[in-house]
Structures are given as C-alpha cells and as structure tokens.
C-alpha cells in the first residue's frame, strides 16, 4: 500500500492523484493526501508516474507498513522502466525473451517432476 509521499521531494503536481486507478489520493495544500488507503491495490502506478521520485509504495497489499525506510527504493521502478527515456532508446529490447523464458521454466518444472516420479 502507498506509504509515503515525501514532502521534501514532492512539488505537488498532483499527477499521482490523477493517475491512481482506484482514486486513493486527494489534492492537498502541500502534498497530496492519502485519503482512501483501503482502495490501494499496491499497483505502483503512482510511483511510476512520479517525476520527482517522491512516492514510496510499501510491498504488502493487505496491510499498511509504517516505519519502513523508503530511501533505497525511491525511483527504482521509474528508472527500471526507463519511464522518461525516448522511444528509440531500446530499453524494451530484451522483452521478446519473456515468452521463451516462461516456456523454459515450464520445461524445467516438468522434467524435474517426471524425474522425481520415476525415482519414487
């Protein structure tokens, strides 16, 4: 669930209020307000769309987790996506490997299972 909007980084552009698919946030005087935490599905979209890397979403989707240190994680999702990079930067060049790797994983599981059954 969304845990923190860091006031020292946030410029109150309210992009997170706009992009949240479940309308968790309200506009606020200094920074947006987390108004409906029970509707947060931990989808990280607010973090991804935050140009200032000012938002930290804690990983548990079922319960709030106060007290975590957000600093090591700020902006990681945004950078990993190459969110602000131009289209021709090639940051999705590895994406084609997803399907074959899924298939390879399925084969690994199937071979291992068969080998074990023969062993029993």
């Amino acid at each position: 669930m969304i845990a923190q909007i860091l006031a020292d980084k946030c410029n109150n552009c309210a992009q997170c209020v706009s992009v949240c698919p479940t309308f968790v946030l309200d506009d606020g005087p200094q920074v947006p307000v987390i108004a409906r935490l029970d509707a947060c599905q931990t989808c990280y979209m607010c973090e991804l769309y935050c140009d200032r890397q000012a938002i930290y979403v804690a990983p548990d989707q079922f319960a709030p987790e106060p007290g975590a240190d957000p600093l090591p994680h700020l902006g990681v999702i945004w950078r990993d996506h190459g969110w602000d990079r131009p289209g021709e930067a090639g940051h999705l060049d590895e994406y084609r490997k997803l399907g074959p790797l899924l298939g390879e994983g399925a084969e690994i599981a199937a071979r291992r299972y068969q080998a074990q059954r023969r062993g029993v």
Partner: protein, 521 residues
C-alpha cells in the same frame, strides 16, 4: 449542479479494449467520450502486466494451423471465423502504436510487436486516443445506462469522483468496455474490475455467455499479487520444509491449481525459484520491473530465498464469460449498446478454455476496433434531436423496501469466498453449487430490498451489486453445465459429454439459463 455532455460514441471503461475502440471510432469521424472509473492508462489489469498478443503472420497455411490449434483448445465452442478476424486485426493494428510505444528488437534485425509491457502499452493507447481527438474523462465511473423512448440505449449516468458531481452523457451509440469481474480477489489491477458493465447491461436485458468457464488463477507472493513470470520453474514446500507434490502447471492445469489450493488450506506454501531459468535473473528487472519490487522491499532474494505464496483468483478475467454478442460487430441485444474486451464473452475465440494472455489480448484489440468503427457508423447515421431518456438502474438505486446499511466489506469477502474459496472450488459438485447459490441469493435479496446510496457511496454500492450479480451468474451457469469441459471442472461430472452446448445466463432477481447447440462444433 451536475455535468451534462452529448457525444456520438460513449465508451464506458478505459482499459485496452476501450483504448482501441476510442481510436477506431474517432478515426471513423465520430465524436468520442471515454468515461473511465479510474485513469485511462492505469485502469484495469493490463497496465500491471505484460500482455502477449496472438500473433501469426498472414500466411494462409500458418493462420489455418493456428486456428485449428486454438479450435482444439476451445473444445467445440470457438468460432474459426472470429479467430481469423482477430488474427488479422491484431497483425494490422498493433504496430500502429509505434509512434507512442517503444517497440523493442526481435533479435534478428526486425521489430518485436506481439508482447508489450502493460504500463507503456496503456500509456501509448491513451496518447493515441488523445491525439485522435478523443475526450477522456478520468475518475468518472458510470452508474446506470439510459434508454430513450424508442428503446435505444442513449448514454449513461455516473459520478465524477474528483469534482464530486453527478454526470449524464447522452450518446448515439454506447460501448461497454468495463472489463471482467475478479470478485475483489486482490489480483493486481483488478480492484476496479467489478463487472459494472455486466450489471448495467443486464438491467437492459442483455444475457451473458461462457460464465461457467473459470476461474483461472495466478500464483504470487502471499503479500502481493504480481504477474506470474518467474514461477514456472518453481518447487513448493510446506512450512516444515517438506517438498509438496504439485504437478507442473502446463501439463496438469486444473490438478496443479487443486494441489496448490489444497496445500494452502493445510498451511503456508513456500516457493523456491532457484531452479528458474538462469537467463532470467539478469534481465528480469528490465523485462518486468514490477516483479522484483515486492521482494526487494522485504529484503528477500527471490531466486535464493523461499517465500510464502498464494493463488489469486482471476474471476472472469482470464476466463471466458461476459456479455453475449448478437452480431459480428459486437452489438448486444440492447439496441445502441456494444460490448468489447473482457466485458464481453470471449467464448467466440477462447471457447471452454482460458483465452489468457495472447488470445484475450487479440480479442480486446480486435473487438475494440470492430465495435469502435461500427458504433461510429451507427451514431453518425442517427444525428438529430434525442428522445427523452430514463435510467435503467434499479439495484442500490430504487430498493424494494426501506433503506438499510449494507455491510459491503462482508459481502465482498463472501463473494470472493464463493467464487475462489480453495475449500470447495477445486472439487465442485451439485451440492456445492447449490450451497453457494443459496448464500449468494440471500445476499442479493438483502441488497435488492434495502440497498440505497448516493454520490461516491452509490458508485461503491453498485460495484458491490455487480460483484454479487456476477457471482450468481457464474454459479448458475456452472451448475447448469452438467459436464467438465476446459476451465469448467466438476467432481460429479468429470467428463465432457456431447453434443457441445453453448449456454446463456440472464436476469437479475430471477436467473434463467438457456442452452443451445454450438454452431461451430
């Protein structure tokens, strides 16, 4: 004060199918309004995933072979003509997003189109729609459809969450693109997928088909639903470190989920991904950056440490069921009303099986293109003064008896349990369906008699009603199909029995089932 708008085509919903429909309708010359419950670009299950599209080059032999294979999976309920259409439209239109989506390399000097990352894909669809002149209204959930005196659907009413105003949009054609129903299982992205469009259409007399084919499942860390990417090589253990006997997913299907579900009832199930393909590790972050986050933020190495997992139910999303279509342009039986994407039945292309991933994505794109084009044509032919309208919504709007507070949280828990409860869902029989049906019936009666709300609370109570309605149709349809076929598996009828029947389910207070010989068997 309230918001009043008039347009040619109104699209309700802002996911993948809505995006393609909006672009197609605008290109055909119509004024288009998209009214989304969330934000067009992040709403629904696409933005958090990585949809692959059914992708076969336009070579007659290869297409024919792909359609034959898919028809086999559909187990007598798929329509080869529809399959050919969605292959064609997907091949032609997916590359048209290139100005807005950073398609990567195919590793052989060309471009890789078929698989796309959800967040960039949805961002691209929004940009393309805005560029085509579409008006996008975010955080504008629809509540009910409007019908005019001629019996045509003439728009919708809803509530603007951010402005805190009711809205009414009059349209000459209306497209439901509200997605499937995940029954609030916690599946990532699905919080807004409560089957709203199906409830609204049912109030206009539209039936559903394929509702019995489901649910499907995705496995995730127990604390956060993510996509299934690294789990295909997983080994599972109980809390005492004993390896569990879980048949692999690809070959076993239902038995895989059943074994996992039953193990989860007995106690925590831990996944070990140390056997996952080695090549995955260095590029996982680049392929799917949302996958590592829930682990890193808990200090877990997902390829080394064992961690608890949970099966998240996917409701109708990767199943088949949805609004029944009456023609090749995605019209429903209500004049002026179209249905596309996961809001519509996917039986035509997925049959009895999950169209999960590739086929459902191709369906969303194609049904969007088809309905958008047809709705534009139909609306442009109907310009002129609009007739008086009335709202079709009843449940949560006009209760039969005095208003009473409804415990929506308890209802959501109950609905998810009936549809996704591990204890009964993997060994369904007549008695189990009857018991689920009875419990859901009691919830519906309470809602129908006493549910009433306004403004944002009405949006939420209508979602609750849609969840319950969807669960009742699902149970009624599954109970009606006395065989096992594809995703529909019963312990009391473990085999498929011929001839292949297609089944429609309809009604709200009273649910009816109609069976009919499948035309494509």
């Amino acid at each position: 004060m309230s918001i009043h708008l008039e347009t040619d085509v109104l699209i309700i919903g802002g996911g993948m199918a809505a995006g393609w429909a909006a672009i197609a309708a605008a290109q055909a010359g119509a004024r288009v309004v998209v009214a989304d419950k969330g934000y067009m670009g992040t709403s629904g299950v696409t933005a958090m995933g990585g949809p692959n599209h059914w992708w076969v080059a336009p070579d007659p032999a290869r297409r024919e072979e792909a359609i034959a294979r898919q028809s086999g999976k559909a187990q007598g309920l798929g329509d080869p003509e529809w399959m050919a259409r969605i292959l064609d439209l997907t091949w032609r239109y997916l590359p048209s997003l290139a100005p807005h989506y950073p398609f990567g390399s195919d590793g052989a000097g060309g471009t890789y189109y078929s698989g796309v990352r959800g967040s960039e894909y949805m961002r691209a669809l929004r940009l393309a729609a805005l560029n085509a002149g579409v008006t996008v209204l975010d955080h504008h959930p629809a509540i009910e459809l409007l019908r005019d005196d001629e019996g045509r659907i003439a728009g919708a009413r809803g509530h603007a969450l951010r402005a805190r105003l009711d809205w009414e949009i009059r349209s000459h054609a209306t497209i439901l693109a509200t997605g499937g129903n995940a029954f609030r299982s916690g599946l990532i992205g699905s919080h807004t997928n409560t089957g709203d469009g199906q409830l609204m259409a049912a109030e206009a007399g539209v039936a559903l088909s394929g509702m019995e084919f489901g649910p499907s499942w995705s496995i995730s860390p127990a604390w956060a639903s993510t996509r299934t990417l690294p789990y295909t090589g997983a080994v599972y253990y109980d809390a005492d470190g004993r390896e569990l006997d879980i048949p692999p997913s690809r070959a076993a299907g239902h038995a895989h989920n059943r074994a996992l579900g039953h193990a989860m009832l007995a106690g925590p199930v831990l996944a070990d991904l140390s056997h996952a393909p080695k090549a995955l590790r260095p590029i996982l972050r680049q392929i799917q950056p949302f996958t590592p986050a829930p682990f890193e933020r808990r200090g877990i190495d997902l390829f080394r440490d064992r961690f608890p997992v949970k099966l998240f139910g996917e409701g109708t999303i990767r199943g088949t069921g949805g609004l029944d279509l009456t023609d090749a342009e995605c019209r429903t039986s209500a004049p002026g009303l179209f249905a596309i994407g996961d809001a519509a039945t996917r039986e035509l292309v997925a049959g009895a099986n999950s169209g999960g991933g590739a086929v459902n994505s191709a369906w969303a794109l194609s049904s969007g293109r088809i309905a958008g084009t047809a709705a534009a044509r139909e609306s442009l032919a109907r310009k002129g003064a609009s007739a008086p309208v009335h709202g079709l919504g009843r449940i949560a709007i006009a209760p039969h008896h005095a208003e009473r507070t409804i415990d929506v949280t308890a209802i959501h828990r109950a609905v998810d349990h009936e549809i996704h409860g591990y204890a009964h869902v993997f060994t369904r029989d007549e008695a189990s369906y009857a018991a689920s049906g009875e419990r859901l019936e009691a919830i519906w009666s309470e809602l129908s008699a006493h549910g009433r709300a306004r403004g944002p609370a009405l949006v939420s109570l209508r979602e609750t009603a849609a969840l319950v309605a969807g669960a009742r149709w699902t149970i009624a349809a599954a109970r009606g199909r006395k065989e096992s076929r594809g995703l529909h598996q019963r312990a009391d009828y473990p085999e498929a029995t011929g001839p292949t029947q297609r089944q429609r389910v309809s009604g709200l207070d009273t649910i009816c089932i109609h069976s009919q010989q499948a035309e494509f068997a």
